[in-house]
Each structure stands twice: as structure tokens, then as C-alpha cells.
Symmetry: C2
Subunit: 414 residues, 2 copies
């Protein structure tokens, strides 16, 4: 048992008892003989963030090919570098990404990349949560679809008894994956009662090409293929028309909003407020660093709020409460994780922020300060599943993680 | 003399000698008996930022009235609180703002507020540079215009022999100031060879009202009134048509771009790339925290880049080099300050960043990392005019500045 003493929760001082991996009790004063008592004077507790779309291992690509158009950026810069990646690079790259996530208050992420056993290892070791999907991409090759489905089945069958990790599936997109692969993965996800992630309608061209090829828009296609539902996450989902919004709502499909990436790659600007008003389940993601170039959900919240106001032409779009919620509670809820709020009975995933930090004063509105003013310097402690994964700004093995990352980057740029 | 040893400059290791307030020498190896030698192993040097539009003393308003429409926000939230401000509040508020600026790497700011002698005191004491304009706002009251012009003349006449501070003038806007005041201030600025700042075309309504009242657009009006020129700064300048862009170019008038504020208050989105392509002198500002809500130029650069791409529908808008330049060199140049670049003969205004910081790796593109990934945690040292104003993350009197700020906020919310 861990006892947090004198911590600010919703602007009131209280004590909070963590028992095992849960928030067991919240009260003005808790007198109990805990294993550890943490003095939280001048600290506030907030739910940690859930980053619902990223590509953790792309860390080595930060800052590469800036300001180039999408095709040149991919073909001249990203793909040739990714081609050098070997499985053994993924573990140090994932650890580095996780370091950045923890420093910026994230305790759960949904990844989309390859060589996933290496990412699993890093997540297990560093103590946060992750949804790690088996990768699906076949470039319309039937044999490859079969192969992927077979291997994905193996992956889901293997025991992996870590409660912080959810095994799932992803299909890259309707423009890189065959109907066979997408439906195969969707059926598998249903059979194993897990999650399926897919990039959907990130670019207008993707929508146009889909209409050309299949005679309907991507969301309509995925609905026809029975891929939609509350365990399916559509990453990006920028270009949805009103019919598609209704389909998303009806099926309870989850959306992963990536505002920075969408602006940086100029793929469009999601109508966040319109989606929220329609009752869609929107979550927030940073995408990979090659198109952000940060894994900070703090910075992502600011972009989500500002982009929403700009898109809706309204200051009351992208409201503080809504933006904070899509970055926390909505993400955890989408993956059936009982976290994202500081309440008794919830999983103990949280951050402690220093209320004397420059950026958190005055304390007129803590959530607004977190969205618009805060940075990593505000966060002193990060807990996941009841255990500290950063204490007093210290993450175990940080120096080694950084030096290993530098070694891999040097290796990959050689 | 201060010697920086082993510092990265443009990805090469070198030594840099600071003599008095200037960068005296940059060389592979400098052997000299300096007063102080700073070991810069694993640190890079970059120019510091120049924040060309802010209202420093509004710090107490951070997080107030979020998501309200402009009129309710101003009338219900901002104005009633500002009405409680007394001159003695301004010094502690300014010091707090300057603390945030220094932590985020700014060594020069252009303020726009009242009770300026208190702000001057804070700037003098904390060691950065500022342009402090005498305030002009008369709500079309002729007597008040005369009064302001008289007092502004007094202000410019008073000796203030601090080379880090430039006395200047501001008129709030064409919708709050009479022709008499604006032209009076403009003439005064010319007479005293100093700078004039004015909010211009921040909102579409401002343009429409100006046409209604004066029969022409704000920039055309200010041109007619002979207010434009290289010593005039137009803050915001969101809504300029092609004729106005030509007038800005022809007169060499400087623009102060505030992308976050413009998106947050939904006043519009400046065409940064179009302005840069037209050869306009664009600088960057955060505006006050009540509409940002941060004074970080790092965060502002990210918004400038992303907003430019979005507005131009082009990934090659808001390029790394351009955005970094508007946040540094362009700002200093606009105010005749020989800083903003790390070159021999330049004023020694610079920051040192930790190249092992999480957000600055990999070092594929340092400027891109500063724009898109960095936060205050990356900056270890800030120098202004050859002197350290933050060393190893320590700013003198920080605890006292924070406690005084909290006292003032409590006082103002009582």
C-alpha cells in the first residue's frame, strides 16, 4: 500500500491510498500504516495520458526530411531509412520512445509497427501499459494475406500473461491492405475479443482513390466489410462526411485524433467539435515523431484545442474539459482499461504535478494550464498500475537508454 | 571575458569567446586566460528568442474564462479583473512573466501594457532586454489624446541609460485610439527615432468597422496617416489584402505574428508563407498569457509552423529555417538589436541546450527539434548582453518571485 498525503485533487487537499494496482480510498485524512508514505505537499494528482496512435520505434526519424511533400518525404527520406531497420533495433528505439512518453505523463499507448516482440519487451520492462497490435499489410498479395493471418493467429494464441499489455491487431489501411487481410484480421479480432486498429481517411486522396477502386468511401467500405465496432480504432479519421459520422456513431467505432500530424503533413484538419457534438468516441494520439515530432500528449492537447477552434471558427470548440478527457479517460475507456480518472476503484494510473512550477501558476484552471501552458518540467512522478515508473523525475536506466538510442541512430545512419 | 569550451555550433565543436557584451571570437580552439571558462560538453549554442508581442503583466489572468466568446471573455472575465490592478502589482507580475520567458529562452520582449515604470524596473533587474512602449489609448477623447501625448513626450525625454532597454510608444488600435493620438504618437516616435507598436487587423470585425467608419481598411488608414515604416510594428496583422501586403512591403513595416492567440481567440489565421514570400518582415510573439496561455517561444514556433502549413495547404510552408528565423533574428533586427545569430561581432544573447536531453535526440536537425520537440527542459543556460541570466537552470530569486506572484494573485482574486 502507498499513501499519498496532502495531494491536491480538484483543488482540494486530500490523502489517497493506493492498494495493489488500484486507487483504494480518497479522503480528507487517511490514517493507515502504509508500506510507503509520499508527502505530496504542493503537488496535484491528475490522470495520466493514453496516447491512442503512435509508431514508437520511429524515434530515429525525428527531424528527417522536414518540409518536403508527402511523396518525396516518404520515398526519399523515410522508406530508405526504415529499410535499414533490423529487429534488434526495435527494443532500444521503443525504450527511448517510452522514456519520452513517461516524462510527458503517458502511461498507455497504442502502437503500430513491426518486430513487435521487441516492443513488448520494452513495455514490460518499463512498467507502462500498451496495446501492441500484430502488423497487417499485404499490398494486395493474397499469399501474404494468408501468411499474415496465420502469424497473427499464432501471436494471439501465445500466452502473454502481463495485465498491462493487450495483444491486438492492425491493418495499415484500405490502400495497402486487401479485403481478405482486413476481413481476416477483423474476424480474428472478434474471435479473440480484442482490438483492431486501422488508418482511415487520413488524406483526401485516400478517400478519392477508395471511391475510384471500390465505389464508396473508406468508412462505408469498412462498414460493408463489417470491420466497424467499439473494438475498432480508426486512426486519423479526418475526412468523414455526415453519413460516415453516423456510421461511426451507430457502430461505436473509436477514433484516434492526431491533430499535429495532420497539420504537419497537411493531410487536413479534423472537425473535432463536430465529432464530439455527434457523440463520437474520440481519443487523442501523437502519431509517430516523424510527423509531430514529439510524443508529448501535453503538446498534443494544445494542438487539439487550437485546431478545433480554428476548424469550427468558434472559441467554444475544443473546450478544456473535452480536450483533457479525450487525452485521458476516453483513451483508457476505449481499450477497456479502468483508468483515466482519479476515483476510488479506478486503476492507479496517474501523474503528480508540481503546483509551484512556473507554468502551473496561477492555479485558476489546472486542466487549462496542463493543456495550454505546461510542459514536461511540470511532472514530477508518474504511476502506472499502482507502481511508480518515474519518481522525482527519475526514470530507471535513463542514461543507458539514451546512450543505447544514440548508438542505434549512429548505426542506422551509417 | 567568458570562454565557452567545446560547444556545438551548427553541428561542429568549437570554442566561443565572449568579451564584454559581444561574441568576440569563434574558433576550433581558443587559448586565452578568460575570467570564466564554461565547459560546454554535450551542449549546443543557439540564438535566444525575441518575443515581439506580449502583455507581460497579464500573468495573473492565465486560465481565466476559457472557451468563452470574445465579448463575454473580455467583459465578464478580463476587464473586471484588470480593473483591480494597481501599479504596485505590475512589478511582481512582470518579474513572473520574465521568469517564464528566460526559462523558455527569450532574452528580449516587446511589451504592451500600463504602469510601465514597474515593468522597466523588473527588466532592469532580471537582465534581459525589452522594448517598453508608453501606452496610448484614448477612446476617441481629444483631451485624453493631448494628455497621453504630453506624458509620452515626458517619458521619452527622461534619461534611462540602460542599453538593454528601448523606450518606445504604443497605440492600442484604430478602434480604441483617435487619429489625433495615433498621428501624435507616430510623430513623436519619428522625432525621438524610436518604435511604435499597434494592434492591426487582428479580427475581421475590426477591418469591417474601419471600412464603415473611415471608408478604408486599417492598413490603408495607417498608411494615409503616415504611421507605417520600418520602426512601426503591426501586431497580429491577420487580415491583410494584397494591396495592404504591398503597403507593408513598400514601407518596410514590421509584423508581429501571434499564431496561438489568433487560433485561441478564433480571430483568424495569418498567411505566414504568403507574407514571407512577399518579402515582408515577419517576427513572432506569444501575445499575453490570457490568450495563449504561455510565453514560450518554443511552443509558439511549433504553432507558427503548423498554422502556416494548414493555412497554405502545403507542407513546405512554415519551413524550419524560416520559423526559427522569425523567432530569433527577425525580431532582434526589427528593433535594431545586433543579435539573433551566433557570429563574431554579434551581441552575446544566446541559449545553451543540453544535447543529451530526451527531446533533442536524435540530432538530425537541431532547429527542427527546437521547433517541434523541445520544451523548457532542454535549456540549461541563457545569456543576455554577455551575462548569464540563467545558469544551470537557476534564475536568481526564483522562489521569491514565485511567492510574490502568488501573493499578488491572491490579492487580485480577493
Amino acid at each position: 500500500m502507498i499513501l499519498l498525503q496532502n495531494v491536491f485533487l480538484n483543488n482540494k487537499l486530500c490523502d489517497i491510498l493506493i492498494n495493489d494496482n488500484k486507487i483504494a480510498k480518497i479522503s480528507d485524512k487517511i490514517s493507515i500504516c502504509a508500506d510507503e508514505v509520499i508527502d505530496c505537499t504542493d503537488k496535484a494528482i491528475l490522470p495520466s495520458f493514453c496516447n491512442t496512435h503512435t509508431h514508437a520505434s520511429m524515434m530515429f526519424l525525428r527531424g528527417i526530411g522536414e518540409d518536403k511533400n508527402l511523396q518525396d518525404w516518404l520515398n526519399q527520406e523515410i522508406f530508405p531509412r526504415e529499410a535499414k531497420l533490423k529487429p534488434e533495433h526495435i527494443y532500444p528505439l521503443s525504450r527511448y520512445a517510452i522514456l519520452e512518453m513517461i516524462k510527458t505523463g503517458t502511461t498507455c499507448f497504442i502502437d503500430m509497427y513491426f518486430h513487435i516482440s521487441e516492443t513488448l519487451k520494452a513495455v514490460e520492462e518499463m512498467g507502462l501499459r500498451a496495446i501492441i497490435p500484430y502488423p497487417g499489410m499485404d499490398f494486395f498479395d493474397e499469399k501474404e494475406a494468408d501468411n499474415r493471418i496465420k502469424k497473427a493467429t499464432q501471436y494471439l494464441n501465445e500466452a502473454f500473461p502481463n495485465p498491462r499489455i493487450i495483444k491486438a491487431l492492425f491493418c495499415h489501411s484500405v490502400y495497402t491492405c486487401s479485403q481478405k487481410l482486413i476481413q481476416g484480421f477483423s474476424d480474428l479480432a472478434k474471435k479473440y475479443n480484442t482490438y483492431l486498429q486501422i488508418h482511415v481517411s487520413e488524406m483526401q486522396k485516400e478517400v478519392d482513390d477508395c471511391i475510384q477502386k471500390y465505389g464508396c468511401r473508406p468508412v462505408e467500405l469498412l462498414h460493408k466489410w463489417r470491420v466497424m465496432g467499439p473494438k475498432t480504432l480508426f486512426a486519423h479519421a479526418v475526412h468523414l462526411n455526415d453519413d460516415e459520422i453516423r456510421l461511426v456513431k451507430k457502430t461505436g467505432t473509436v477514433l484516434g485524433h492526431c491533430p499535429t500530424s495532420n497539420l504537419k503533413l497537411d493531410t487536413g484538419q479534423m472537425s473535432l467539435q463536430k465529432y464530439l457534438d455527434a457523440g463520437l468516441k474520440v481519443t487523442l494520439g501523437t502519431d509517430g515523431v516523424s510527423s509531430n515530432n514529439s510524443l508529448s500528449m501535453i503538446s498534443e492537447m494544445k494542438l487539439a484545442a487550437l485546431s478545433a477552434k480554428n476548424k469550427a471558427n468558434s472559441v467554444s470548440a475544443g473546450r478544456v474539459e473535452d480536450v483533457f478527457k479525450i487525452a485521458t479517460q476516453n483513451g483508457f475507456e476505449a481499450f477497456g482499461i479502468n483508468a483515466g480518472e482519479i476515483k476510488e476503484g479506478k486503476l492507479a494510473d496517474f501523474i503528480l504535478v508540481n503546483m509551484n512550477n512556473q507554468f502551473l501558476l496561477p492555479n485558476n484552471n489546472l486542466k487549462s494550464n496542463m493543456i495550454y501552458a505546461a510542459d514536461s518540467s511540470c511532472i514530477s512522478d508518474v504511476f502506472c498500475d499502482g507502481k511508480p515508473i518515474m519518481r522525482n523525475k527519475i526514470i530507471p536506466h535513463e542514461a543507458e537508454i539514451i546512450s543505447e538510442f544514440k548508438r542505434v541512430c549512429a548505426d542506422l545512419s551509417a
